[in-house]
Symmetry: C2
Subunit: 201 residues, 2 copies
DNA sequence: AATTACATTGAATAAAATTTCAATCAATGG
DNA sequence: CCATTGATTGAAATTTTATTCAATGTAATT
């Protein structure tokens, strides 16, 4: 009865979704949600506009899915890092280095950062997206805990750990944006400069 | 012949322009260029859509004027700072403190930052805007010079001054964004944390 | 009070973008 | 090779946004 293998069909569908998401991520990051038109996405993906609606019911839905993906990746990375058997200083170093390296190697890392920024800054984004970015505080909490531990063991400077976490995230975020602006020309600064925020060297 | 005093008329016109610009700045910063509609601007300014076109021939034109204003303010501030009779360390301190203070006191400061970011990041902005943001490098150069001076006199750490300038600007930029996200809740972090990038303390 | 200049309006028009949908196509199991 | 399913298309319909413009209002000048 079934005219086509169910699994294969699902696979094709997943691949299409994947293509749409990956092109949308790049476009949203480079042009912004509002400036990215449905036709931009379908053209970039190489499909008709109609087909896009077969997979997603709106641009917003795609944006939300990407945002959720991005957030999950970041939170996973942060919690993973926290649970590693490393000293607080090693954890902070690793976070900075991995991120800088991520920017260079894989554009998606930076793209997700830009998406999250858009969702955080702009009012004109879907409510569901606004909900997702509220979990931003979770990331601050992870870093705050690592910093507090680093202060207890005496390696870190003794400023308010929340302030330090703010500086940590905002600096990396600033670098993500700088990376996006520079494009191919991006050369990450020496990670030790940033580490100087946390320790005397 | 002239039915109305020329100067008064000019003054009224300037005020209107001012109103339009000030409302546009806020809207562009909070919603982004593409998501800000002409009707948003006219409604916020309390004028008809038609009148908007009497003053500016497009949304882009308003954006470009604001961007130019913002850039000029920043470059003026940076060059002014550089020429003050202060030590390099005092200059860097002053830059950080003034900026953090500016964010708290005057929303426009942060709004201009967001505008510049949009113009830098997004592809879908007018060519003229792209031209303006190229002068971003001027700001990096000013800070690089101050840092180099601070290294000569022995107060600053000895990383590549260009790298340090990048970290300086990206960190402040990150804070500007954080400030925008937090809104009224924004509490600037202790400026000394950032100063730790430059000196041992 | 009449004239003039131009700010201002609001609605009409044009352009752009989104969404829907009937028709076609392609693959597969029977 | 036929029937079925659902992916895919392209264009029509709808909605949103930008732009133009004829008509009106207002205040200063003569």
């Amino acid at each position: 009865m079934t005219p086509r293998n169910k699994e294969l069909n699902e696979k094709v569908k997943d691949e299409r979704r994947e293509q749409i998401l990956s092109n949308s991520l790049r476009l949203f990051a480079k042009k912004g949600l509002a400036a990215t038109k449905i036709t931009d996405i379908s053209k970039a993906t190489g499909i008709s506009q109609g087909l896009l609606y077969h997979y997603y019911k709106s641009k917003d839905e795609i944006f939300i899915e990407l945002l959720r993906e991005g957030y999950n990746k970041m939170i996973e990375a942060a919690l993973g890092l926290e649970s590693l058997p490393l000293t607080p200083l090693e954890k902070i170093k690793m976070a900075i280095e991995k991120l800088l390296q991520g920017f260079e190697e894989n554009k998606d890392t930076a793209y997700y950062y830009l998406l999250i920024n858009q969702a955080s800054i702009f009012e004109a984004i879907p409510d569901e997206a606004k909900e997702i970015v509220k979990s931003r505080s979770l990331l601050h909490e992870v870093i705050t805990r690592i910093i507090t531990a680093g202060q207890k063991d005496g390696t870190f400077k003794n400023y308010d750990p929340k302030d330090m976490a703010v500086v940590f995230w905002t600096s990396l975020n600033g670098l993500a944006i700088y990376n996006a602006i520079q494009g191919e020309d991006f050369k990450p600064p020496d990670a030790n400069i940033l580490i100087g925020i946390f320790i005397e060297d």
